[in-house]
């Protein structure tokens, strides 16, 4: 009976009000009638260990215990943990088995205390009208939203039957796991390197699709640093003489970092903001540089130009701190001693091959002896210029290679490209030279362009070459903390389980990128090998909305035979599923959070309430699916997983253990004292700052039919304007407005779209436009406008905002299809990546605007 009543999507036999009121008695009543009794017993019997229930009790036993009378409020600890970087430590107020309120809880260092509109309105997500309460199956067309309630048994049996048939015919690689960033926790969440989802993937042996976001900064800066972290803890900002906020709008995107910046400013730190938009962050600046969008790389190259021309970065610095004295051959590779007749020697055993590594030292020119010798053996001065030939081999120094590019960006040229004055560029260079220590905060403003990694290399070099790293007050990078988790979590043991026969899990199959999916589905091949993908499992993600090119994403979704989406609420992506699984809300389960946050703590999530309806923690869903597939031996209990993950001497040394977390609810990931990143040794071959690389890493590959890569621009410094948004691009003649995509104060990506409370602050999609542009187009506040380009369109209201420069508009990329008057914001950005960097270019977008 009840199934019939939910046939049309969200219509439920319980009204929202009656459901919540009845929640306490729901389980008992349905168990008595047998309606979901089978699900309840399935939960116990499907657990591979058979004791999931008791395990959960054990994990939760240190919670806000004690029986409370009716109307009394209990407080549980937990974490707000979408991918905003906040990772807020919360008090969860529970009364009569309902979450009634959330508030900020004290961190050991209360400077880190935090909460925002989102953390405060979880009640709107937990009890919202779009909450998924039962498994459902599609009964209408893909995307129609017509679903019918089914039991967990039917959902799991359907998944197992479908997947088993694909596995038998094509192998487990026919199933593609797709991960977003919707829950930064270990058990049910999406934490890279730590999340139990990876154990599920490895146990199944399925394929994996990377969503490729936020990748260009690390890709480009890694060329300079070899990938070492250079950010200092936020409590160190007081030690900076200057802070440069570059491509970062913390008042919206990382609001809990902002008070550290303002407090430092009040104590005398100069607060510089480099951003095309006069936003709330720029409004707090001592000096705002209104750089033209997407031209930060040209600005950085010109700053480097000034630094070198004025001798503020001198030859000694290049020689001692960088790889400037390496010699590049005509084929683009470094001159090595083997080129000079010195045979390579055998070094340490390479653990990946079990064979000795070949050691073929880099060659440099020893000025005092007038000879090429092995790098690292020179006691005198090495040459950084004027070495044209060694033993008949034509060479160029890395210094000369870098300077030939930096010289292309004199301040006058860059000023014109960047919309700044030459004085601005000189002053920024002087600040880095004279007003250190400088902390440079870099976020994703410059990342979301096709040229993002070309930009990041010179931007990082500005701070690196001026010595503004590796000491109190001097740092570069993002303020998110995740390196200890990345380095010290025992992922190998947690993610590669053995079965009872001692056989290891098969491990992940193919690694795809979103840009590959359509061609793999169409051709049945990937990287020139057969690969048939039949099914996708979507975890902690709403990719139909958050990936570039909406038509492309819905297109490949609809090419799949069988799509499973697990989520807390009925997202736009859920509507493209065949089976929807109701994930438990964060507070309805035990978990360990935050593996990516602007504070240095792990947080214990207590189970504050029972899952609503038949919602289930994702960790249990994974175990149940594996069990149905006969792979349950690879799964484990929550406690086993967490104990394995934290089984490392580092975590014991800082007191980050499951036992301590259960007791204290929070544990610091560093020893006490401001964490200062070390810049003593870079991750490059020389251990120094790199201005040139001989090996090009490719972030992804396309099929052989794609255009070949131009490797000449990937070895050394190089920069180009954004592909669509660049002011010099022909594309802008047809589409004159650069469209900047924004974060919102009240959504984390699309999360909180279903929370009515936050619509009091951001009610609907809005495009912001400069008043002069608006006047030219006849647009007034609140007018409905259509943004379009050769890919798609979207219709929404316009707001006049003098903080936008001419010919740049901005709008949030965090709304779903039904929120727009027409079209879709995600239809406007291109899905294509840079030739080597797999990175969604959300800001490299141009459109025309029409008033409707």
């Amino acid at each position: 009976m009840e199934e019939k009543e939910v046939a049309q999507g969200f219509v439920r036999s319980f009204t929202r009000r009656s459901f919540i009121k009845g929640a306490a008695t729901f389980a008992a009543a349905t168990a008595a009638t047998g309606a979901v009794g089978s699900s309840a017993s399935m939960l116990a019997s499907c657990s591979p260990t058979g004791n999931a229930g008791t395990t959960n009790d054990a994990l939760g036993s240190s919670g806000a215990s004690g029986t409370k009378g009716a109307g009394e409020t209990q407080i549980f600890a937990g974490a707000c943990r979408g991918n905003c970087g906040g990772g807020c430590f919360l008090n969860i107020h529970v009364r009569d088995n309902k979450v009634v309120r959330t508030s900020a809880r004290d961190f050991p260092n209360t400077e880190y205390n935090r909460i925002c509109t989102k953390g405060l309105t979880h009640v709107g997500r937990i009890y919202g009208p779009n909450r998924l309460l039962y498994p459902m199956k599609r009964v209408g067309a893909r995307g129609s939203g017509d679903f019918e309630r089914i039991t967990w048994d039917e959902a799991l049996d359907t998944i197992a039957t479908k997947w088993q048939s694909y596995i038998e015919k094509y192998g487990p690689s026919a199933i593609m796991f797709f991960l977003g960033s919707g829950n930064y926790s270990a058990l049910s969440g999406s934490s890279n390197w730590i999340g139990a989802f990876q154990r599920f993937v490895n146990s199944l042996g399925c394929s994996y699709c990377s969503l490729d976001v936020d990748a260009a900064i690390s890709f480009g800066s890694g060329r300079a640093t070899g990938g070492i972290p250079l950010a200092n803890e936020l409590t160190d900002r007081k030690n900076a003489k200057t802070q440069v906020i570059w491509g970062n709008n913390p008042t919206i995107s990382l609001m809990h970092t902002m008070h550290f910046f303002m407090e430092a400013k009040e104590k005398g730190t100069r607060f510089i903001v480099i951003d095309p938009v006069y936003n709330a962050t720029a409004s707090k600046a001592d000096w705002w540089l209104p750089v033209r969008g997407g031209t930060d790389g040209a600005l950085a190259l010109a700053v480097l130009n000034v630094l070198v021309q004025n001798g503020w970065v001198n030859d000694d610095t290049f020689r001692s701190k960088t790889n400037a004295d390496l010699l590049i051959k005509e084929d683009g590779r470094f001159l090595r001693m083997s080129d000079l007749g010195v045979a390579p020697t055998e070094g340490e055993i390479d653990p990946t091959t079990n064979k000795p590594k070949l050691v073929d030292p880099l060659a440099v020119w020893d000025e005092s002896n007038g000879a090429a010798v092995a790098f690292g053996t020179v006691t005198g001065i090495t040459a950084i210029k004027g070495v044209a030939e060694v033993n008949g081999i034509k060479v160029q120094t890395v210094y000369e290679n870098a300077m030939s590019y930096i010289n292309k960006y004199p301040p006058a040229k860059a000023a014109s490209m960047c919309g700044l004055s030459e004085d601005d560029i000189y002053e920024l260079a002087r600040v880095y030279y004279e007003d250190g220590p400088v902390t440079t905060e870099i976020m994703m403003g410059m990342n979301h362009y096709r040229n993002g990694h070309y930009t990041a290399w010179p931007v990082f070099l500005v701070g690196l070459l001026t010595g503004n790293v590796g000491k109190p007050g001097a740092a570069i990078g993002q303020s998110e903390e995740y390196m200890p988790q990345l380095l010290y979590c025992n992922s190998k043991a947690a993610h590669y389980p053995l079965n009872s026969a001692g056989t290891p899990a098969p491990g992940q199959a193919a690694l795809l990128h979103t840009v590959n999916v359509e061609e793999v589905l169409r051709t049945g091949t990937y990287q020139n090998k057969d690969l048939t993908i039949k099914s996708a499992y979507i975890h902690c993600s709403n990719p139909v909305v958050t990936m570039c090119d909406h038509d492309y994403t819905t297109g490949w979704f609809d090419m799949l035979d069988f799509v499973v989406v697990a989520d807390i609420c009925m997202t736009e992506t859920c509507k493209h599923a065949d089976i929807i699984l109701p994930s438990a809300h964060w507070f309805e389960q035990v978990d360990l959070a935050c593996f990516f946050s602007t504070h240095p703590y792990m947080i214990w999530q207590e189970k504050a309430i029972e899952p609503l309806g038949e919602a289930m923690p994702d960790f249990k869903i994974f175990g149940n699916i594996l069990d149905k597939l006969g792979l349950g031996e690879y799964w484990c209990t929550e406690e086993e997983y967490l104990n394995t993950m934290l089984d490392n001497d580092y975590w014991r040394s800082v007191g980050c253990t499951v036992q301590k977390l259960k007791t204290d609810k929070v544990a610091r990931i560093y020893p006490e004292g401001d964490h200062i990143a070390s810049a003593a040794a870079f991750g490059t071959e020389t251990g120094r700052i790199s201005l040139y690389q001989e090996n090009i890493t490719k972030g992804y590959t396309r099929n052989a039919t794609s255009e070949p890569i131009d490797e000449s621009i990937e070895h050394g410094l190089y920069w180009e304007t954004p592909v669509f948004a660049g002011a010099d691009r022909d594309y802008r003649k047809d589409y004159p407005y650069h469209l900047l995509s924004e974060h919102m104060r009240t959504h984390t990506h699309t999360q909180w779209w279903d929370c009515e409370y936050v619509k009091e602050y951001e009610a609907e999609p809005i495009v912001r436009i400069n008043p002069n542009d608006a006047a030219e187009l006849g647009i007034s506040e609140g007018d409905v406008v259509r943004l379009s380009n050769d890919q798609g369109f979207v219709v929404m209201k316009a707001a006049i905002n003098a903080g936008l420069p001419r010919k740049m508009i901005s709008s949030a990329r965090s709304w779903q299809k039904d929120d727009f008057i027409d079209g879709h914001f995600a239809s406007l950005p291109s899905k294509e990546y840079n030739q080597v960097c797999a990175n969604q270019a959300f800001n490299d977008v141009a459109v025309k605007i029409e008033k409707l």
Partner: protein
Amino acid sequence: MTQYGMAIDLKRCFGCQTCAAACKVANNLPKSLNYNVVYTKGDSDFAHKGTAVATGAIVNDSAGGNYPDCTLHFFPVQCQHCGSPSCVVVCPTGASAKDEDGIVSVDYDACIGCGTCIKACPYEVRTLLSEQQTYYIDEALGEVDAPPHKVMTVEKCTFCKNLIARDETPACMQLCPGRARYWGDLDDPASAPNVAKQGREVMYFLESEGTNPSVIYLR
């Protein structure tokens, strides 16, 4: 004597709306009711509140001026718990009162919803609940002793006196991401608002109205 009050540092406030959301949930406010609104200002004339989505604007956070010479401020406004409250003087039933701790309160049983106080208050922070209220979530959320939201009564910021009675601070004060808000007894020279205002330019909203507000804005 005690005069509860707060200081709000406008140089620190960056318009995140956290204080507004904290108030909304802790007090279980109906959809159409807000005690605390964070306005956006594209000018520097603080005699006017500015605009807010909560009061009908389509968007927050719009700068004024002429790029790149722009202006953007944020202005959180709630009941000012005035030393000389104009609302109390005009209340015909005594429902609006100045309590011993300085809080301007409303006795919901005595209030007849006549709206006289709304006209008398220069800050436009009082709301008449003229009809049955609707909620985002149809459950009693927030604090168990949140205001009742009775039809034909007037409501406004209570300074969360239910929380103060439990030695907590008002919901909006519990965590300001910008650390812009200070709470305490204005009659105590060592209280947080009095310490925070040292050396700062102090502004009282619509000071010329003679209401002697207990919310101190720091500029």
